[in-house]
C-alpha cells in the first residue's frame, strides 16, 4: 500500500490539485456525456412520435 492515511491519499504528495483536477474532469466529462446522451435519445423518440402523429393526420 502506497498511502499511510486517507488524508495522505487526498493530498497526493502535494499534487492533489493536479491529480484530482485530472481525474475529476474526466469523471465529470463522462457523466455529462452519458446524461446528455440519455436526454437526447428520449427527446429524439418524443420528436419522432410527434412527427408520426402529425403525418398520420
Amino acid at each position: 500500500m502506497v498511502w499511510q492515511s486517507a488524508a495522505d491519499f487526498w493530498a497526493m504528495g502535494g499534487y492533489g490539485l493536479y491529480v484530482w483536477g485530472s481525474f475529476g474532469a474526466t469523471a465529470l466529462g463522462v457523466a455529462l456525456e452519458v446524461w446528455l446522451l440519455g436526454r437526447g435519445q428520449r427527446a429524439g423518440i418524443k420528436q419522432l412520435q410527434r412527427m408520426q402523429r402529425w403525418e398520420a393526420e
Binding site: V30, G40, L48, Q52
Partner: protein, 243 residues
C-alpha cells in the same frame, strides 16, 4: 453469420441494442480495475512523485482522441466509396466522444504541465497539433449542425474529416520531427516500453475501458441517428409507436 446482414439499418439497430449493455458493463469493470491500479498498485514515481498518476488518464485520452478520429476517417472513406448508409452515421456517432477525449487530453496535459514544466500551456508541436485536432472535431460537428440536408451534411463532413486526417500522423510523430518540450512516446511497437510494468498495465487497462466506453456511447448515438434517418420505414414506425 453474414456480416453484411448488419449493414442493413434494421438489423444493425437490433444488434447494437443487444451489444450496448455488454460494452457499458465492460467499460465500468475495466475503469474500476484501472482506477484501482492507478491509485493502489502503481508505485510512486521516483522523479515526479504522485503527479505522474495523471498519466493513467492523459495517455488513454490522447490515444482515443487520435484513434477515434482515424476510425471516423475510415468510415467516411467507406461511405464515400460504397455509398453505404450506416458508415456516415458511425462517423457522426463517434465525433462527440472523440472531442471529449481530445479536450480531456489537453486538460490533463495542462494540469500535468504546470507542476512539471512550470507552465499550463506552451506552443510546442505536440500540444499545438492536438489543439488543432480539437478544432477539427468541433468544426466537423458545427458543419454537420449547419447543413440541414443529412446526405449533403454527411458528404461535406466526410470530406473535412478525410482532409483533416493528415493531422493525426503529425500529432503522433511531432515529438520526433520537432524539438518538443513534450516527452517522446514511452510505448513503441518496435521496442520494449521504457516504463514500469504496473504503470504500463494500468495505462492499458484504462485504455481498454475508454475503448469499451466509446463503443457503448457511439452505438447508443448511432441507434438514435438510425431511427431519425429511417423514420418512414415500417420497422421504425413500429418501434416509435411502441416506445
Amino acid at each position: 453469420m453474414n456480416l453484411y446482414h448488419y449493414a442493413a439499418p434494421a438489423a444493425f439497430y437490433g444488434l447494437a441494442g443487444r451489444l450496448i449493455p455488454w460494452f457499458a458493463w465492460g467499460a465500468a469493470l475495466f475503469a474500476a480495475a484501472g482506477l484501482y491500479i492507478s491509485f493502489f498498485v502503481a508505485p510512486t514515481d521516483f522523479q515526479q512523485g504522485e503527479a505522474y498518476r495523471i498519466i493513467f488518464i492523459h495517455v488513454p485520452a490522447a490515444w482515443m482522441s487520435m484513434f477515434i478520429y482515424m476510425v471516423m476517417a475510415f468510415w467516411c472513406a467507406i461511405g464515400l466509396a460504397f455509398n453505404t448508409r450506416l458508415s456516415f452515421l458511425m462517423a457522426r456517432a463517434l465525433a462527440p466522444t472523440g472531442a471529449l477525449f481530445c479536450f480531456l487530453a489537453l486538460w490533463t496535459g495542462a494540469l500535468w504541465g504546470k507542476p512539471m514544466w512550470g507552465a499550463w500551456w506552451v506552443w510546442d508541436a505536440r500540444l499545438t497539433s492536438e489543439l488543432i485536432l480539437l478544432f477539427l472535431y468541433v468544426g466537423i460537428m458545427a458543419l454537420w449542425a449547419a447543413i440541414d440536408d443529412p446526405k449533403r451534411g454527411d458528404r461535406a463532413g466526410a470530406l473535412l474529416i478525410l482532409v483533416g486526417a493528415i493531422n493525426v500522423p503529425i500529432i503522433y510523430f511531432s515529438v520526433k520531427w520537432w524539438n518538443t518540450l513534450h516527452q517522446g512516446s514511452s510505448i513503441n511497437l518496435m521496442q520494449a516500453p521504457s516504463m514500469a510494468a504496473t504503470m504500463l498495465i494500468g495505462m492499458l487497462v484504462m485504455a481498454i475501458a475508454a475503448w469499451l466506453y466509446t463503443i457503448a456511447v457511439a452505438l447508443v448515438r448511432a441507434r438514435g441517428l438510425v431511427l431519425a434517418r429511417e423514420r418512414h420505414t415500417e420497422w421504425v414506425q413500429k418501434i416509435i409507436k411502441e416506445a
